[in-house]
Amino acid sequence: MKRLMTTLSLALLSALTPACIADPDDGGATADAGSGGTEAPVNGAALTLTFVSGHLGNYWDCPGEANGAGAAAGAPREAAGDAAGACPPGEECVSIINCEAAMVMLEVENETDGALSDFRIERIVLVNDDGTTEDLEGLGIVDAETQAPPAALPAGASRTLRVDFRGPARDPNDDGNRFLRLELRAGESAAGTLETPPLFSLPAVAT
């Protein structure tokens, strides 16, 4: 019954939340958390964002790397792949076994009249299953194809970007009812927001 109530609550929350958060002055377009939809542009300049994939990381063996756990300040360690990726040649590998930074891949479409550059994370908010929210620290944006900072995106063009961020601490009881609201900006004022489908921690043994 508890699970059922939780599910019903979440369904209700999912249905109501976009309507509640949309500012009528922004045009009122809403997101569909279940299908990775997009929201209306902020400040009238359009970046259309479409969810591709994402996970909340895996901080099983590096709880100090999780959001709010007192992770080292300064230049963020390189995310995802390096946390559990190949050791650089000639260097002792510092990654540990179940330690992957969280990430979201999204498709960005430039609906403005000119090319856009200087993509940056404005805000990443985790919406927990009880409706509470948590601001997460963005670690960087790269072009998913080149792994480099995104080059200028011409008007009308689209590109897949990867946003790395510091995910929430591991929740052993996570049953997949958390999602993100992510706001991206580019150029002077172009912006877009994305509400993801439910996201999960990265499984340690994906099989």
Binding site: V52, S53, A80, A86, I96, G176, L202, T207
Partner: protein, 420 residues
């Protein structure tokens, strides 16, 4: 005996609900899997035990979405090369691996592989299906060469040949490590990947769960090198792996892949129902995406080929001997002779086994899958967790119910199973 009838009845009830399985497929099914997103989504939804299980939700949130989702991930290049002893030396020198000798997995042209009637002329042999044969041949290559995942511990272990035997890795006569390949990951870095053959080609037999492979030990060695206590991982033992992220350690036997097309269900707990070959292809596809940090997806034709190949494993076994009366009376209700002596699911409480995996909060169904018994004498240990070391021990314990089996019947059953 009454207990056996009870179990058979429950299995029959589940069987009655079971839809068509994946041992046969039509060109139309291949085409729909390859080209029709809605079909893939419907197939996934039909296959999952319960949509609210976290395992199910993790797939439903991203797979086959009307807009966006994993369909838009970049396709992972299939250019790989075997990982060899010489490559370990490269790593030991602190150098980067290369892919100079790597090859793409060549995919035949679309008409050839979809079985399009307008495609190339068929072979005259009416018993042969060229499209199916092509798919299976391609799938065999995928099974051996496509990395289903990369892992930090694998990169680390690959550079330390002195530990390979401890981890149960096998090296062939020319120095190739079974199941390991070099590949370029989503970030373009050349790494070591684990193929299907890495876990499911024990003793070099494709489809047989590798009983020597010690994934827990491998991960524990890596963790220990980083100052972490990983004794729980080491306790898994060879041939076993915990596939969940729950706090409890519930390792299960690395499964055989024989007769999965007729098995009806996948995973020890049966969390995925095989509703057609597309189910297998989707299972492999989603496994691949998660194994590659959700940053690339596989070429879908390779997944259909892999599904076709895996569905063929074991189906060319010689005819089975006639079962003795004891088998018919005690076993056939679950281990159906018409389904390669396998079946559907059995409630965990009806078996005298540890039910933790069946009740796992991530992917538990309350049941265990009933495996095929073809070739069972080669596939020790037994039960979902490998708890029974031999068939003799299993029957001596009165599998499945704990009810004592008279010695004469046990002997007849053992003789039959050893010949199956």
């Amino acid at each position: 005996m009454a207990r056996a009838l009870h179990l058979a009845l429950r299995a029959a009830l589940l069987s009655a609900c079971a839809p068509p399985t994946g041992d046969a497929a039509t060109p139309e099914e291949a085409a729909r899997y390859l080209e029709d997103r809605a079909f893939r989504r419907e197939t996934l939804e039909a296959a999952l035990w319960r949509p609210d299980l976290p395992y199910s939700r993790s797939l439903l949130s991203s797979y086959g979405l009307p807009d966006g989702g994993w369909d838009r991930l970049p396709v992972q290049a299939s250019r790989t090369a075997p990982f060899t002893r010489a490559d370990a030396d490269v790593l030991a020198r602190g150098e980067a691996l290369a892919l100079d000798d790597a090859r793409e997995i060549a995919v035949p042209s679309a008409p050839e592989v979809t079985g399009d009637p307008a495609g190339p002329a068929r072979e005259p042999d009416p018993g042969a299906d060229p499209a199916e044969a092509t798919w299976r041949a391609l799938g065999a290559t995928v099974f051996d060469r496509l990395p289903m995942r990369g892992d930090a511990w694998l990169d680390w272990l690959a550079a330390r040949p002195a530990l390979w035997n401890d981890a149960g890795l096998s090296v062939d006569a020319v120095g190739r490590v079974r199941g390991l390949v070099r590949f370029a990951d989503a970030r373009g870095r050349v790494r070591v990947g684990l193929t299907c053959a890495g876990c499911h080609a024990g003793d070099g037999v494709p489809g047989r769960g590798d009983r020597r492979l010690n994934l827990g030990r491998a991960r524990a060695l890596y963790a220990a090198a980083r100052g972490l206590d990983a004794t729980a991982l080491d306790a898994w033992g060879p041939g076993r792996v915990d596939v969940t992220d729950t706090d409890s350690d519930d390792p299960t036997a690395i499964p055989d892949l024989f007769h999965v097309g007729t098995a009806g269900w996948l995973n020890h707990s049966g969390v995925v129902r095989v509703v057609g070959r597309a189910t297998l292809a989707i299972r492999f596809e989603t496994q691949f995406v998660q194994g590659h940090l959700m940053q690339t997806r596989p070429e879908r034709r390779l997944m259909w080929a892999l599904a076709s190949y895996v569905a063929s494993l074991g189906i060319e076994a010689p005819p089975a001997p006639a079962p003795p009366p004891a088998f018919t009376a005690r076993c056939a209700g679950c281990h159906d002779p018409a389904r390669a002596y396998g079946g559907d699911l059995v409630a965990a409480e009806d078996l005298g086994v540890d039910a933790a995996v069946a009740r796992d909060p991530e992917r538990g169904t309350g049941h265990y899958k009933i495996p095929s018994l073809r070739g069972v004498s080669d596939n020790a240990p037994y039960l979902h967790d490998g708890a029974a070391p031999t068939l003799d021990a299993l029957l001596a314990a009165g599998h499945p119910s704990g009810e004592a089996i008279p010695p004469a019947e046990r002997a007849a059953l053992l003789a039959f199973l050893n010949a199956l």
